[in-house]
């Protein structure tokens, strides 16, 4: 008798779970934007507080570092800053020259970029997506491109609510992106592997080297990533190229949205 009651209760609970599942599927199907809008609006203060807390307490570790280590590190960083300053000057010159040439050829860059704060990023998100703090209030639309610096493109906007947007990173698992190898001009379809990584299988004799840069095909070439490892197997006629986005997407607090 008791066993029968327990079995009944088990089936009753399972039916409830399945009903709950089906009702959520229906809700997601009927009101996808309303639910996303509601949850993201409710989550926005929590995300903002979490980001503030992590930036406020993130430097506690440095406070306890040894002075000797800090001095050595400071010296290395100063050297790097000096080298990078020289490269920035070169970069600005080349960029200006590039813009002048485009103007001469009648191809003006009409893009308009908006700075946006990242509210949530992996590892909070299991899907390689970012939530940013601007939405339709800034006239953001699905398909707008997202950059972490002037030339490094990381993803596109896929969902927009009034005050937030969801960015799908190109490195999302199984997402395929057309790209161009900057050095040779050859086109490849690179596959996302998650965590700002990509890979592509190419014939063994394909001309790809460590450090080669893959760009997003558009008027102004934007960097998708650079080659950091090439896996060659003697038994296979293909080699696997591993590509990584430069910079750390998962620590950037700001991104640029290009309309």
């Amino acid at each position: 008798m008791v066993l029968g009651r327990q079995v009944n209760q088990y089936w009753f609970r399972n039916i409830l779970i399945v009903l709950f599942f089906v009702s959520l599927i229906f809700c997601g199907f009927l009101f996808p934007n309303a639910l996303k809008n509601f949850f993201e609006t409710a989550g926005r203060p929590v995300w903002s507080t979490g980001n503030f807390a992590s930036s406020a307490f993130g430097n506690v570790y440095n406070f306890f570092s040894l002075q000797k280590n800090l001095v050595a590190r400071n010296k290395i960083l100063e050297d790097q800053v000096n080298t990078l300053n020289l490269k920035v000057i070169d970069y600005d010159t080349v960029q200006k020259e590039n813009q002048d040439l485009k103007n001469l050829l009648g191809r003006k860059d009409m893009s308009d970029r908006i700075l946006s704060k990242v509210l949530s990023r992996p590892p909070q998100s299991p899907y390689d997506t970012l939530v940013i703090d601007i939405g339709s209030d800034y006239d953001i639309n699905p398909g707008d491109k997202v950059y972490i610096s002037d030339n490094i493109i990381v993803g596109i906007i896929t969902n927009v609510t009034p005050h937030t947007s969801l960015v799908e990173l190109f490195s999302g698992s199984s997402k395929k992106t057309e790209s161009v190898l900057e050095r040779t001009g050859a086109s490849y379809e690179i596959s996302g592997r998650g965590g700002a990584n990509f890979s592509v299988d190419v014939p063994k004799d394909a001309d790809i080297l460590w450090g080669d840069v893959f760009t997003y095909p558009e008027l102004t070439d934007s960097v998708l990533g650079s080659v950091y490892y090439i896996d060659t197997n003697s038994q296979s006629s293909f080699k696997t190229i591993f590509i990584r986005t430069p910079g750390n997407i998962f620590q950037s607090e700001w991104v640029f949205v290009e309309k």
């Binding site: 088990y10 399945v18 599942f21 959520l24 989550g43 979490g50 909070q124 299991p126 997506t129 969801l166």
Partner: protein
């Protein structure tokens, strides 16, 4: 477990979904599903993950959570009979 305890737990896990790494939240949800009787909220949190973070309108989180809670429910019945 009383209703107010369950509500507080719900809010705490909601904050975890927003702030903690997803794998840590998943571990917490697995623990709660085993510890708390009939923790159907896990289905909602699977749905929340999909709604907040999934760009392709898929229901991966919701499906995984539902299958998991059904397995837990089955195992609980077997263990206690």
């Amino acid at each position: 477990m009383k209703i107010w305890q369950r509500t507080l737990l719900f809010l705490a896990v909601y904050v975890c979904v927003l702030v903690l790494p997803w794998w840590l939240t998943a571990v917490i949800l697995v623990g709660l599903s085993i510890y708390v009787p009939f923790y159907v909220e896990v289905v909602f949190f699977g749905f929340l993950f999909d709604t907040l973070y999934n760009a392709t309108n898929g229901h991966k989180g919701l499906i995984v959570a539902t299958i998991f809670i059904l397995i837990i429910s089955f195992v609980r019945t077997r263990v206690r009979t």
